[in-house]
């Protein structure tokens, strides 16, 4: 598939995955890959912290929007601008109420705990309002592509279920209309796609498969390719003997142990990848494991190249 075509197919890409699978790295990678295809990208984080900014060498952004990567031309290729933005559920609720006739009351309500009652009375209202903010960004054309670093997988389902929950709970009122509008966004494959992230291990893959079927059945959201992070590149010949290597004894032992460890991890990984393929009929994009200490701009650039290659291979 042509990467430009892929990134143009939906205006919003929601990236979700279980904790510890590198969801934020995947979101940053996708943003960088789209930028490389010339698109302007808005990377939205909803967990109330900005983990992606350092991956672009930028300082963490707050609630305000900040430029993470400037538009540039390198080797004749135009890179689109990447901006980052954080939307927290609490802020979304306060902001929404103050724009709906509660101006003077909102502060008092926050202090008196009435906000908590509203949030409890209408489960999912905060998630819905975060999605509402994303929908507003989408309709005002805030960027060519909006990449959302969604809450962890279990919560991702709740996150995407929130609009239908709120629509059914609040049968009238402005919040009901908001829910209906967000549902239109979620249900339209040309506007929004969900990209699930995993690593090639048993439990994360089980959770991914479960989440995939649940979101498709219950939320009706379009599922894009699955991103598999931290895939160990294959090394051929690991079973060859190290007995004759000209190294000291301790090093020889380390060589043997490292080879055996790598071979066993690769075998387990292949087994899980194959299972994922047979249990979930979605294309996979495999990201290589980064060997090193930190994920910074250079690593994101490398992963973005791999992501584009993965899309081309679809």
């Amino acid at each position: 598939m042509d990467p430009g075509h892929f990134f143009a197919s939906s205006r919003v890409l929601v990236v979700a995955g279980k904790g510890g699978v590198g969801k934020t790295v995947a979101a940053a990678t996708i943003a960088a890959a789209a930028s490389r295809c010339g698109l302007s990208v808005l990377l939205v984080e909803v967990a109330g912290r900005s983990a992606a900014a350092p991956m672009f060498g930028a300082s963490p952004q707050g609630y305000e929007e900040a430029v993470l990567v400037h538009e540039a031309e390198t080797n004749g290729i135009r890179h689109g601008e990447i901006r980052g933005k954080s939307i927290t559920p609490d802020d979304a609720l306060v902001e929404w109420l103050s724009s709906h006739g509660f101006n003077r009351l909102v502060k008092r309500m926050a202090k008196s705990g009435i906000l908590e009652v509203i949030a409890t009375a209408t489960p999912g209202i905060k998630d819905l309002l975060v999605l509402g903010r994303i929908k507003a960004l989408e309709s005002e054309g805030a960027a060519d592509l909006i990449v959302v670093d969604a809450p962890a997988a279990g919560h991702a389902l709740g996150f995407l279920r929130s609009p239908s929950g709120v629509r059914d709970a609040a049968r009238s009122g402005t919040i009901h209309r908001q829910a209906v509008e967000v549902l239109e966004l979620i249900g339209d494959p040309e506007r929004l796609q969900l990209i699930l992230v995993t690593i090639a291990e048993e439990t994360p893959i089980n959770e991914l498969i479960e989440t995939s079927y649940a979101v498709e059945d219950e939320v009706g959201v379009k599922l894009g390719p699955v991103v598999v992070n931290s895939v160990l590149p294959r090394i051929e010949g690991l079973d060859r003997s190290v007995a004759r290597a000209k190294v000291n004894k301790a090093e020889r032992a380390d060589l043997a142990e490292a080879a055996a460890f790598r071979a066993s991890r690769t075998a387990l990984q292949d087994e899980q990848l194959e299972r994922l393929g047979s249990e979930l009929p979605l294309p996979q994009i495999r990201m290589p494991q980064i060997f090193g200490t930190e994920i910074g701009p250079a690593e994101i650039e490398l992963l973005a190249g791999e992501f584009i290659a993965g899309i081309e291979a679809l």
Partner: protein, 370 residues
């Protein structure tokens, strides 16, 4: 700070009556909780573990595949006993309401209310709240020497610490006070203002939602003291000298950041972690990453070339892991650090848990297991 530091994991199991395993999702928290309870049973204790959403195969192995509220006894080759349960948030909450209600009619009125169903089913923090409730109940029963609790995957340690106050805080809400004291003199003025707020709310979230919330608060009348006392008792248990927090982490950069955040939050609540368990540690080798990189060049083309590449990859990653674990140790200098090696497969039977119990307890004084 009331925590006293422990010499090793065995000491922790011997000296505490409650162990709370906290940390973000995806780091092996449930498995560590269950293995801790196994270690206690091996040490002759009557141990119970409250698990939250365990992976299916682990739940099957423990015989707790169904949500349940009573601990199931698990047979195993240990002198003590091991009981486990998979927390059922909704029915635990119903039990709590029934316990505090004046009569069945009040309990049923609350349980049937939609606002209550939201509170007991979907309100964030409810799972934490019920986990501590269950912990308190099992601890009070006197049937166990040690209760181990898994916590829901959240990045906010405070969700658990504040959980006991969840309902009493809701009951401190002015809406509650207003709707339960409609006609008493001093409340009249507030009441008019409150009615206005409620009307405005109804315009936004719809009238049914507001009516249900009001009905919920009215149904709770007279129960608030019971809930408040219980919350205070639970908070006392969490702060007790014989309660320990164990932070579970993995050496991945993102989870280490979260773990350090957790430690700060715990510290601010004056509840320091007694131990930090770092799962998924790579094999510890003596070759440095620099030397491994040299070997890649030196051995290229030879039979040991592929092994050299594997060694370079492994040591580069392991070095980063070590740096991050050291950062974590700096953030919790008094805590015991236990490193658990990456296992070839997910744990889904008692033997697997026993193996982790062995790895947890064999470490001494924060030293890397040999």
């Amino acid at each position: 700070m009331t925590e006293t530091s422990v010499a090793d994991y065995q000491d922790l199991i011997q000296s505490r009556r409650v162990i709370i395993c906290c940390g973000t999702g995806g780091v092996g928290k449930t498995t560590t909780s269950a293995a801790t309870a196994v270690a206690a049973a091996q040490a002759g204790k009557r141990a119970a573990v409250v698990t939250i959403d365990p992976a299916k195969r682990l739940a099957d192995a423990l015989g707790i595949a169904e949500l349940d509220n009573t601990p199931r006894l698990i047979d195993g080759p240990w002198p003590g006993s091991l009981s486990a349960l998979m927390l059922d948030t909704k029915s635990t909450f119903d039990e709590v309401v029934r316990r505090h209600a004046h009569d069945d009619a009040q309990a049923e009125k609350i349980i049937g209310n939609r606002f209550y169903r939201n509170v007991s089913g979907t309100l964030s923090g409810t799972q934490d709240y019920m986990a501590v409730e269950k912990l308190n109940e099992l601890h009070d029963s006197g049937d166990y020497d040690l209760v181990v609790v898994d916590t829901p995957p959240t990045r906010d340690a405070l969700a658990f610490l504040e959980a006991p106050k969840l309902l009493s805080r809701l009951l401190d809400n002015p809406i509650y006070r207003i709707v339960t004291a409609p006609n008493r003199g001093p409340f009249k003025v507030i009441n008019t203002a409150a009615q206005q707020v409620l009307r405005q709310l109804a315009r936004v979230v719809g009238a049914t939602v507001v009516d249900e919330a009001v009905a919920f608060f009215q149904a709770f009348e007279g129960m608030e003291d019971g809930f408040r006392d219980r919350a205070n008792a639970t908070l006392e248990l969490l702060g007790d000298d014989r309660t320990a927090f164990v932070l579970v982490a993995s050496p991945r950069a993102d989870t280490i950041d979260e773990a350090r955040y957790f430690l700060r939050r715990l510290h601010r609540a004056e509840l320091d972690a007694s131990a930090v368990v770092v799962n998924r540690m790579l094999p510890q080798l003596s070759t440095t990453p620099e030397r491994a990189a040299e070997l890649v060049g030196a051995l290229a083309g030879s039979a040991a070339g592929p092994a050299a590449q594997a060694l370079a990859d492994l040591t580069a990653t392991a070095t980063g892991d070590d740096l991050r674990v050291a950062e974590l140790q700096d953030a919790a200098p008094d805590a015991l650090t236990v490193r658990v090696p990456m296992l070839p497969d997910d744990v889904h039977d008692i033997d697997g848990l026993a193996e982790i119990a062995r790895l947890l307890t064999k470490s001494r004084g924060g030293q890397t297991p040999a």
